[in-house]
Each structure stands twice: as C-alpha cells, then as structure tokens.
Symmetry: C2
Subunit: 221 residues, 2 copies
C-alpha cells in the first residue's frame, strides 16, 4: 500500500527535477549566447534564473508542510533533509549561470581570446553533471552519484588549464587582459557549478545510504 | 515553563555560534598570514576548516534528531529550517577561508602588489558581517540582520575596485600578472564570504518574521 508521504515525496522529486532542467537550460542558453554572439539569450538566462528562485521558495514551503504534517522519520526524514540541501544548491547554480551571463555580456564587447573555447567543453561536462546528479537522486543510484565526483575532477583540470594558459597569454598580450579575465571568471563560475553538482551527488549518497561522505571522511549517521 | 525543545534549540544555537567563531578565526588567521608573511598560519586555517566541517556534520545530526523526536511545528520548525541553511553557509565560508589560504600561500612567493591592502579592509567588513549575522540570529534581531545586507554592498564595491585597479595595473606591469590574479581571486573569495553572511541574515529574517526576502521579493510563508 502506498503511503501518503510517498506521493508527496514523489511530487517533491518532480519539482527538483524541473529545477534541474531549468539549470541545464540556463547553462545551455548562456553558452549558446557566447558561441553565437546572440545577446538576446542573456535575457532568457535571467528569466530562467527568476523561475529557479521561485521554484526554490516553493520547494522549501513544500518541505516545511511535509515536516509539519507528516513528521517523517528515518529514511523519509533523510530524504527531506537532502531535498532541502539540493534545493539550495540548485538555486545557487542558477546564480552562477546568471553570473556567467553578466560576464559573457561584457566579454562579447571585446576581441575574443582563443582560450574561451574550453568554456564550451567545461559547460558540457557540467551540464552532464547536473543531469546525472539529479538522475542519481531520482533513481536512488549511488553508483551514478559516485561517478559525478570523478567528473568534477575533469572540470577542475580544465579550469586550471584556462588559468595557466590565460596567465601566459596576458603576459604577452596586454590588450587582451579584460577578455582574459572574463574567461577566467566564467571558468571559475563553471567550476562552482560543478561543485554544486558534486554537493548534490554527496547528498544523494547520504539520502540513500545514510553515509556522509562530505569532507573526505565517512561519517555514519 | 520551559519546553524540552527550547533547551535543544538553545544548544543548537550555541553550536552555530561556535562555528561562526571558527569562521571568524579562520578569516583572521589568513589575513594575518598575508600581512605578516607568516606561513605557519595557513596550517591553522586548514585545521580550523576541518573543525568547521566536523561541526557541520554534528549540527545536521542534531537537527535530524530534533525533527525525528520532537516533530516541531510553526516557529520551532522555521528555526530548524534556518539552522539547516545557516549550517550549510558556515561550512561553505570555511571552504572560502581555506581557498584564500591556498591562494595566499602562492601570493607570498611573488612580489607584492599595493592593491592587496584592500583585502585587509574587505576582510574586516566581512568578519563584522559574520559576527553580526550570528548575533542577529541568536538575539532574533531583525533590524541588525537588515544592516548586514547594507554591509554587503560595501564589500561588493571594494571588490569592484580591486578588479578595476588590478586590470589597469596588469596592463602596465606584465611581471605582476600572477600576483594581481591572486589578489583578484582572494577578493572574490571575500565577496563570497560576504554573500554567505547575507544568506544568514536573510535566514534570520525568515526565521523570526516568516518573511522570505530572498530574491528581492517578499514571499510570505
């Protein structure tokens, strides 16, 4: 027999998936805007971010309702705790996408630097991380969640490459300093998006196994 | 008559205050290390960050216990929700302090740039924000929480100044590009620390008034 709380948790999961879809879309739009120099897409990113912010408030309210009316315990309570945290991460991911849009808008006014291409590659990995972290959440797939942690290493490596390449580039091309800084900041935003997806993967592992793998250690709770 | 949950919420608040003290201390140590070129202080920062990470797990577990055993509602439930979020922000503040320590360690190997001085000023404002956001939390002082939001504007202004000054500096002094980038990244970390303190202030306003002022709007819930 299905419990009433199961239907509500399923509803919550749907909200979280929808938010994740919005984050992916924002990231897709901002990178398209950069690639195709289509400024109108920046507005879309900011509209999507507004939507994500509204989603966040709705999910928090829904969690509070369930906590107040159903007094969940054990696995259900861990699931709600994870949703509260995932919700925060998704909202901050929306912020990061919006930050990229602001920087990208400046960047399009300048002469481009070739190193910006790596942002496209980074954004593809990060979008995959967002999608798969939420897939792992919905399916309760701990193995998939663990893969996200490895993908994050790839993002970090790419970011370090952007930093190193552009530091050298700036030394020889002082006219490209603003554009280089823009790309460095966007790479950093993408890195942070990857970190948030990693947080989600860690929350999934906690929700399913009760194991807290944050901070490198295993804390049972 | 005092309710059992009041004693537990007081205990939780004490934990949160202690974590806030650790964040302040980490920030103090990292800036002292920069100012006095005392490398040994970086180790202290990383030790404090480990402590903050342990605190975070402890606070989360305590929240889960209270939710499971006391089934709080209304104001108590809002308080727990806020503590769960504040706890996450404090942990991420610890991460930012550690990031500053890593960058500062690189920076100390290079010729200093005069613009680094503004980091000291920024860190003082941010430390005040951390302290006062938690004071507002413990005292339930909504007016103080609102002041934090204004202090954040000051941090953002300082960060923009660092960015602009160093962009110009790099154009004329290509030998200072690495050091300038380090200072830009540390300014950005401080800005993010300020953002987290702002999140805490917003959570306090929500916990006390039930008003959600995130995202610029007022959502009653």
């Amino acid at each position: 027999m299905e419990r009433a709380i199961d239907a509500q948790l399923d509803e919550l999961k749907k909200h979280i998936l929808m938010m994740g879809g919005h984050v992916e879309k924002a990231l897709h739009e901002v990178i398209l805007a950069l690639l195709k120099k289509e400024e109108h897409r920046f507005q879309d990113v900011h509209k999507i971010e507004d939507q994500i912010n509204e989603d966040q408030v709705r999910v928090d309210n829904f969690c509070i309702q369930i906590l107040a009316k159903r007094s969940p315990v054990a696995k259900d309570l861990r699931m709600i705790m994870s949703i509260i945290k995932i919700n925060t991460d998704l909202e901050r991911m929306g912020d990061q996408a919006a930050n990229i849009a602001f920087t990208a808008q400046d960047y399009l006014k300048r002469s481009p630097v070739p190193q910006a291409q790596i942002l496209v590659k980074m954004s593809e990995v990060v979008r995959k991380m967002v999608k798969e972290s939420l897939d792992s959440f919905v399916r309760g797939d701990v193995e998939l969640a663990k893969k996200i942690l490895l993908m994050d290493d790839e993002v970090d490596t790419n970011k370090n490459q952007v930093f190193n390449d552009l530091t050298e580039h700036m030394k020889k091309n002082s006219q490209d300093i603003e554009a280089s800084l823009d790309v460095i900041l966007m790479a950093r935003n993408l890195e942070r998006l990857g970190d948030h997806a990693t947080n989600i993967a860690e929350d999934v592992i906690y929700a399913i196994t009760g194991q807290d793998i944050r901070h490198g250690g295993i804390y049972d709770r």
